[in-house]
Subunit: 206 residues, 2 copies
DNA sequence: TGCATGGATTGATTTACATCAAGACTACGA
DNA sequence: TCGTAGTCTTGATGTAAATCAATCCATGCA
């Protein structure tokens, strides 16, 4: 940790580009970081990392290039640990190595769940389940705040901003009221009937 | 390894169901195993494991339930290692723990690449790139054999069998000739132009 | 106060893909 | 040799979502 940097970055700053060698492991201490990928002139958001998540762990361990690019969505405080140090600690410190494995296994299962989400659900179902998840995260009050702007949310859910807008309209009859970044869920029962949440997709802890 | 079972299974046998606790780690010794998932009455193939790949490693390490189901696509010989033993070895044997991490990191990067493939490409592009990959795996001869039946390939590529058929027709002008499970690539240059392969998606080793 | 800017929404249209419904081909067994 | 079942293919149609285009905001700023 001696050689690690704690640094603050402004919003919308690209931190790393896919294809670059993995020089640092990043830990989000404050703010949010969007992971995204490009190909063929197209772009897709892959994930958003919040405190205190890490990103680019697998690339660091394999001493490989990054598979995703990363940019801040808002002002963010990040810890940068030289990947050389991570690999050394990994060799020397058994407890560290095992802790790494648990983190990595969790990330892995997260991606698998994301893939099931995309392959097995329509975009409206994905949005419905996402809203239910955010509500749960924020205390089951039925009143939730979207954690990032709609453009980012749309890409994360694998749709265009236009379609997200329409998807919200589709959910109106199921008690979903949107006002800016605030969302009210007034008929959870019927929303659940539509969304059919599945703990093997939506549960993030296990 | 003392308690591991080496067993032969017939084709089309479901080995595990998603949601079940992870009792065994599986290693494919011979044949192929399809990993798939269900939700909402829909089904999707997530991956196909060949010798000598493992599956369900993350679930075993986390002592969690399986996220995917698995079935043999053909007669297969599998090694079943009790997950309890894996976790014990993981605790005691440092070299084993580190080897596990490398395998896990590779699997993780594989899923990320699959996700980029789905999010950034059309189905025809996915098929084109897949054919190029199989050709490379089989020695760049321009003559390749599809490793599983078209139904499975279709689901793996995220499309219906009907659409796979049509996608092959779309690729005909680009020198793709199909006959049963054999495919000839007679105009690699124009196929590459269409497919635009990207080593951050298609390269499987790094 | 007025005007630029970028996000969000809405409507019209196009495209990609799924679904439905027949056929065609293949392999296999009685 | 003829069913018969399974896989694959083809065509017609339907649906989900992308794209294109216009407008409607909010916000910041001179």
């Amino acid at each position: 940790m001696q050689a690690a940097y704690l640094q603050t970055f402004p919003a919308q700053l690209t931190l790393i580009h896919e294809g670059d060698p993995a020089d640092f492991l990043y830990v989000v201490v404050e703010g949010k970081v969007e992971l995204f990928a490009n190909s063929n002139g197209r772009e897709a958001t892959m994930a958003v990392v919040r405190p205190f998540g890490t990103f680019i762990l697998a690339a660091v361990l394999k001493d490989a290039v990054y598979l995703m690019s990363a940019r801040t969505t808002e002002r963010a405080k990040l810890l940068l640990v030289p990947s050389e140090d991570i690999r050394k600690a990994f060799e020397k410190d058994d407890a560290f190595a095992r802790a790494i494995v648990v983190e990595l296994a969790s990330c892995y299962r997260g991606v698998v769940k994301d893939q099931k989400d995309i392959k097995l659900r329509t975009s409206v179902e994905r949005l419905a389940n996402r809203l239910i998840r955010y509500d749960k995260d924020q205390g089951n009050s039925g009143l939730l705040e979207l954690p990032y702007d709609k453009r980012t949310l749309a890409s994360l859910l694998g749709m265009t901003p236009e379609n997200l807008s329409r998807a919200f309209n589709t959910l109106k009859p199921y008690g979903v009221e949107v006002e800016g970044s605030k969302v009210r869920l007034t008929d959870m029962k019927s929303l659940l009937t539509l969304a059919k949440p599945n703990h093997l997709i939506d549960e993030r802890t296990t």
